[in-house]
């Protein structure tokens, strides 16, 4: 058995070892603290090597992008490495994690709202492209659709405190409208060349379709932003943009009769059986399958659906229409603008090369190739003449587009979620339009007060 002094001596003789270990531990603590907030960015590309790394989430465009990367390397000697990360949720998380670690690639896309975009800019993750856009008499800027650029632009009076400028390059444009199945229209005795223009016609057509055993409207309303989109379309039509924005600013309560009317439209659709079964938990991919397989006569979907439907059912006969007007005096606004945009990392070592690549990517020849192979609306104005007929129909809606990312104010996240989930609850018969309006007004007041206190 060890005696008292033996234990003590052994303890003392091991102390330097502990101290060394403890020192290393504390150094690690300080180091990790530094890594979390102040870490320097690992260079993603060596300027000497002329390699540009791009992260994207667009599975349907991967092949076309790879082809264009090859062409660019052959032309300039600059190697473009495309890294695809899908699905978009996973991609989004990867971009956020990389931003926190300051390990973003040279070019990347950002999926999120305007406030996320602003946060990325303020954190120094996005290069201001205004100079490049405005160079040579704004040649690059003038080549691109104004509304597509607007999504990537921060005006002088933006509420996010971002330095004014253009921070992203749209590589295609999109808008979200309604499509209808011409064959099912015929089957129900409706004119396939005359889709409904207003709410009354839409209700009447859905009634006829129902009588013929055909489901009415399908959409991915399990993804709540799609509910938000249609509700916002109706709101803009019923009360006009100013009143919607006034509501967001907190000047008009959600209990206003116009808002109750917006919510009532969803109740009416549910009560009259105008919606596809299971719509409230349906993701948009399932909704697209539903429409492509001719199970529903109408779909609320974005212009990207042209490529999706072509892949699912090449013989699908369908037309494009604006969502039905409720207030005939006001125009029907739809969400649209830049479909996918790419941003340049402000810390990239090959920033100039990255900007040059994006300029080349949005040039007429490359945009025509992308539009043809991926069936998306090009962001380049000069390509519009050579796009397929159905895409051309979608492009007609570009005159009516708006988007939360170009509004001067945006609704608070908790209110948006409750708004969308509340409409789901109206559809399943759990809430009334008036009840939801009350709930939103209360929540809005609470959140505004909280925001004021912060």
């Amino acid at each position: 058995m060890m005696n008292r002094s033996g234990i003590f001596k052994k303890t003392l003789s091991s102390l330097p070892l502990f101290l060394l270990f403890a020192g290393c531990w504390l150094l690690a603590a300080v180091f990790m603290n530094g890594c979390g907030t102040q870490g320097a960015q690992a260079p993603q590309a060596q300027a000497a090597g002329k390699k540009i790394i791009i992260w994207h989430w667009m599975t349907d465009r991967e092949e076309a992008f790879q082809e264009l990367a090859k062409r660019y390397e052959a032309k300039t000697g600059v190697k473009v490495v495309l890294e695809l990360y899908a699905p978009s949720d996973a991609y989004s998380q990867k971009v956020r994690a990389a931003a926190q670690a300051r390990a973003l690639p040279d070019i990347y896309g950002l999926l999120g709202e305007k406030r996320d975009f602003a946060a990325f800019i303020k954190a120094g993750h996005v290069a201001n492209l205004t100079g490049a856009m405005e160079a040579q008499g704004a040649a690059w800027k003038n080549l691109l659709y104004e509304k597509a650029l607007a999504v990537n632009e921060f005006k002088a009076d933006n509420p996010y405190g971002v330095e004014p400028g253009i921070y992203g390059v749209p590589i295609d444009v999109m808008n979200i409208q309604m499509v209808y199945n011409k064959k099912l229209f015929q089957k129900a005795g409706l004119d396939p060349e005359r889709p409904p223009k207003d709410w009354a016609e839409f209700v009447a057509d859905c009634q006829k379709l129902k009588e013929a055993g055909i489901q009415g409207l399908v959409s991915g309303w399990g993804e709540i932003w799609m509910i938000d989109c249609l509700a916002s379309n109706f709101a803009f039509n019923i009360m006009g943009p100013e009143k919607v924005l006034a509501t967001i600013r907190g000047e008009v309560p959600y209990t206003d009769p116009d808002w109750v009317k917006v919510f009532s439209l969803f109740k009416e659709m549910a009560d009259r059986g105008m919606l596809a079964s299971g719509i409230v938990t349906m993701v948009n991919k399932s909704a697209e399958q539903n429409f492509a397989n001719e199970r529903s006569a109408f779909a609320f979907n974005g212009s990207w659906c042209v490529n999706v439907y072509h892949g699912m059912n090449p013989s699908l006969e369908y037309g494009v229409m604006l969502p039905p007007k409720v207030n005939l005096k006001n125009p029907m606004y739809i969400w649209g603008g830049a479909g996918s945009s790419l941003l340049v990392n402000d810390r990239s070592l090959v920033k100039e090369e990255a900007i040059a690549f994006l300029k080349w990517l949005t040039a007429t020849e490359q945009q025509a190739y992308l539009s043809e192979t991926t069936r998306n609306l090009p962001s380049n104005r000069k390509v519009s003449g050579s796009i397929p007929a159905i895409l051309a129909d979608f492009s007609k809606g570009m005159d009516n587009v708006t988007h939360p990312n170009i509004w001067p104010v945006n609704e608070l996240p908790k209110v948006i979620e409750r708004f969308d989930k509340g409409i789901q609850s109206i559809i399943i018969g759990e809430k009334t339009p008036e009840g939801l309006a009350e709930e939103l007004a209360k929540l809005k007041a609470e959140e505004m007060a909280k925001k004021g206190n912060q």
Binding site: M2, R4, S5, I7, F8, K10, T11, L12, S14, F18, F21, A22, W25, L26, A28, A29, V30, M32, N33, G36, T37, D89, S92, Q93, R96, A99, Q100, G112, E113, R115, D116, A119, F120, K122, A123, G124, H125, Q215, G222, E223, A276, S277, G278, I279, V280, T281, V283, S286, R295, P413, K414, E417, K421, G422, Q424, S425, I427, I428, E430, Q454
Partner: protein
């Protein structure tokens, strides 16, 4: 003096080692409170990290000294690499979450705004959060009863000398090894209101009145998800319970039979008492697994309709990704972790009492 210190360390070590679950809960709460106090004073400086890691360092020095006293220093150093990994991948993230939980931060901006405990106060008032806790509790309840009863019944069946029992073991273990996303998507198709296999079968059986859209109906959505969660998870319980059953000496059953015990009496007086530690393990794993159910829900309902299938993890994701409220999401994560820890400790306490009884 040296001996006195060594004795004290030894006493502390033994006291920690032999602490009851209740003492462990109190100790953990006190430790968290101490950390929180430190944090409130030094939240925005490196001092927090130095203090936090200083605490860990002190704990390690304490362990080293205790091991020297117990003459097992060499064994301790074998553990050091694991401790280093644990420190980087568990302790650092924990402190980081603790730090973030007291800030308003969008996950990207370089500046975080210190808000103290207001995120936690907000959670207490967040009705949707508590709805999600209730939903997770319901899924856990179904798993504890339906899933574990099924697992036990099948384990008992396979413990007997039946034909092809290895084949059944493999079959029962297939659901747990399947991807949750795949399971969710397949079952979403089965539950589909128009083209689903379940409604098709009900129609074939003439039960038209029962057909409806299972996942979009607020009355059935959560139960449907809970049943699939149980179906997917019963294989784990089955394997653990079967392993437990096989450790019970057969002589005990023979002795019981000689004493005139019937099957039920053998089960009640031999199987159940000897299986209590295994039951506790399965129950703890079921609770932890079910409360954290997430992927299945995301792929089947996305938390809808409304908030009917929202669970805490989907709420954390919604705060983090949907609303860019990283600080709030971290506070939700911590609150959820503390609740799970309390449940686990409570269950360990109950099992200890059951064993004593």
């Amino acid at each position: 003096m040296g001996f006195h210190l060594a004795e004290k360390i030894k006493q502390c070590y033994n006291a920690l080692h032999n602490a009851t679950p209740k003492q462990k809960v109190v100790g953990t709460v006190l430790l968290l409170a101490a950390l929180e106090t430190v944090f409130l004073f030094f939240h925005d400086s490196a001092v927090f990290w130095i203090l936090a890691y200083g605490l860990v360092t002190l704990a390690l020095i304490f362990l080293v000294l205790a091991n020297i006293i117990k003459k097992s220093l060499a064994a301790f150093f074998f553990v050091v690499p694991a401790l280093a990994i644990f420190s980087i991948f568990y302790i650092y993230p924990f402190f980081k979450v603790l730090q973030l939980s007291q800030h308003a931060w969008d996950g990207i901006s370089p500046k975080m705004v210190f808000v103290g405990l207001s995120n936690f106060v907000e959670i207490m008032k967040d009705k949707i959060w508590w709805v999600s806790m209730r939903n997770a509790g319901y899924i856990t309840l179904i798993a504890l009863t339906f899933q574990n009863a099924l697992a036990l019944a099948l384990a008992l069946a396979c413990d007997r000398q039946i034909r092809a029992k290895n084949f059944y073991r493999v079959i029962f273990f297939i659901p747990p090894v399947l991807s949750e996303v795949v399971v969710g998507l397949i079952w979403r198709w089965i539950y589909d209101g128009d083209y689903g296999f379940l409604n098709y079968t009900l129609n074939l059986l003439g039960l038209h009145q029962l057909t409806h859209n299972w996942l979009s109906d607020p009355n059935t959505a959560l139960t449907c998800v809970a049943i699939i969660h149980s179906w997917k998870g019963f294989g784990w319980g089955f394997m653990i319970l079967l392993a437990g059953l096989q450790t019970i000496p057969k002589e005990l059953y023979e002795a019981a039979r000689v004493d005139g015990a019937n099957v039920w009496q053998s089960f009640k007086n031999v199987t159940i008492p000897l299986m209590i530690p295994v039951f506790v393990l399965v129950m703890i794993l079921t609770i932890l697994g079910s409360m954290q159910a997430f992927v299945l829900i995301l792929s089947m309902t996305g938390g809808g309709p409304g908030y009917h299938t929202e669970v805490p993890v989907t709420r954390i994701l919604a705060s983090m990704q949907g609303s860019s409220m990283f600080g709030y999401a971290c506070a939700q994560g911590l609150t959820f972790g503390v609740i799970l820890m309390m449940v686990s400790f409570a269950q360990m306490g109950i099992s200890r009492k059951l064993k004593q009884a």
